[in-house]
Symmetry: C2
Subunit: 336 residues, 2 copies
């Protein structure tokens, strides 16, 4: 039995709790830490609609006193937002799996911060790993895996085309859905339209695995302008307005484009003949031309992948790790 605690019980945290409850003979859930006091004292079972008497609590110290082997942190995206969660876990001797996009390769946003995590984890003999589908799998680890059958790799192009229709008002806002083109440009400029978080992390993960020195990263965000009206329960977009955000990340070595990641996110892409999927092209010898249809779902894939690292993180060396440092990941079949 691996002792696991969950930190964060939003959509991703709830998905992860479901994963944990699917493995009653493998995982002992020793606690569920919430940040919202309104959830205090309710059971995990009530939250996820299953049988589980563990009570959610804001008292992280009490949960960490249970000595979990692994804490899964499903809260926020940026390093400064998760530090007060990750560090106490490490000091309590727990390995940390965390879906914060910036933790997939923390040296991309703050090398000193990343080194501090690394030092602390080594001091306590545990590992910290940033997990998720994107970053963490589809546009980095999977690409790395594909390069393993290559004699040479000149350049990598990958694209993730997805459908934002199922998402709520927050995502519509951060992706600029429903704005005019002018509003979109303003939102990108003032940082209210952020688009996808994780391209520098994915680019550096690939570079770390392949030993490439990426010396410049560019990111652009362009409006996806619709020619037809598109709508969801949360937003209606008139023809000529913005149905989504097409984000491009590029990594260069000495001015040469090595990695290009493209991520157009919009509502109802099918209304203009766009089908969703993940696409990887590796230019080299041999060439690789891979597609999935539809795209791997980001939410489900993220908490599944995080759960599937639970049995792997315990055997990993201490420190701030990345998915390309670990063994080939795989589905963890529940013991019956």
């Amino acid at each position: 039995m691996i002792k696991v605690a969950a930190w964060g019980t939003g959509m991703m945290g709830q998905g992860l709790l479901g994963y944990i409850l699917d493995r009653p003979r493998d995982i002992e859930l020793v606690g569920a830490i919430v940040t919202n006091p309104a959830k205090e004292g309710k059971t995990v079972g009530e939250l996820v609609g299953r049988q589980c008497d563990v009570r959610m609590t804001t008292d992280s110290e009490r949960v960490l006193a249970e000595n979990p082997d692994v804490v899964c942190v499903c809260t926020q995206s940026f390093l400064h937002e998760i530090t007060d969660q990750v560090e106490p876990c490490v000091r309590a001797g727990a390995n940390v799996l965390c879906i914060a996009e910036k933790l997939a390769f923390p040296w991309a946003s703050d090398p000193e911060w990343a080194d501090r995590f690394d030092k602390l984890a080594k001091e306590y003999g545990v590992s910290i790993l940033g997990t998720g589908v994107n970053p963490g799998f589809i546009l980095d680890a999977l690409i790395v895996m594909w390069t393993s059958i290559s004699l040479s790799v000149d350049r990598i192009e990958a694209q993730r085309v997805n459908d934002l229709s199922p998402f709520g008002p927050t995502v519509m806002k951060t992706q600029g859905v429903g704005t005019t083109v002018e509003e979109f440009e303003r939102g990108v400029a003032d940082g209210t339209i952020v688009g996808h978080i994780g391209f520098p992390e994915s680019i550096y993960l690939i570079a770390r695995a392949l030993g490439w020195k990426i010396d410049r990263i560019e990111e652009t965000r362009e409006p996806i302008v619709t020619t037809v009206e598109r709508s969801t329960p949360h937003v209606t977009v008139a023809a000529g307005d913005v149905a989504g955000c097409k984000q491009i990340g590029r990594g260069y070595t000495n001015g040469e484009l090595k990695i290009e990641l493209v991520h157009p996110q919009q509502i109802h892409p099918e209304m203009e003949g766009v089908s969703t999927g993940d696409y990887i092209r590796i230019f080299g010898d041999p060439e690789v031309n891979m597609a999935t249809n539809p795209e791997i779902p980001g939410g489900k894939g993220t908490y599944a992948s995080t759960g599937n690292y639970i049995p792997l993180i315990g055997a990993a060396p201490a420190g701030m790790l990345t998915v390309v440092d670990l063994p080939l990941p795989r589905f963890w079949a529940p013991s019956i």
Copy 2:
């Protein structure tokens, strides 16, 4: 510098030697062992059309006395055929990478033999790994990687559709190309038409990674009957005769089909509208539906993959290993 020796200088061995020569600052080629005495004394440079003064030799002892860190064995397919190559390498303290299909998961064909390899490798503190594209990557390790974003995996279906047109008379014979349907059935029955070697290995590799207990494996070989004349420089197939072999491997748990691998190999598949590619479907939550077009080339991918494990095998634990026991594989970029 990693000291590497090559054992076997056929098509695969030559490809691997090219890979090695691409990395003059990373790999020292300490020897090239040949089985064909006619090659004795010629240089690797002459063989592969590049600059390299290492002379090929049948004297394996002399090469192993150079203490290679890794020996890449590219000779044959079956355990009994490679044992006299693998064991001396192990006794010389070298890690072994070997493209023999049966070594990808040697417990499939002979558990005692596999355990003997494992014991010997542990005794000498080295690792043995079976490598290649199929088995070794496309229908096993890559599938395992894909399952890592799964909440549940019910069943796996994968297919590799390729074109045999570039191959010579030996492959035509072992795949039954150019035979009548009757001759094909007879060839399968008497073992002269072998088809693809490696399905039990791929099935058990997946099962090992996922913790599945596969209790029965079935293999079938069916003729691919052409409706039009197809020909290559080595064979002409009349309409109504056999243009290739469709092989299917199935793995069951308690009578339930868990893994189905399909591999139709034929000349000129495009003449009847068949396009080549690799296809993976994972039935579970979420579903995965992946395709590559065209298929990853088997030969090039096999020696590339083997070379790319050179820097990984040194850090692996001692014993008889499999690709699902190792870290996420990746292209090894040559130092400049």
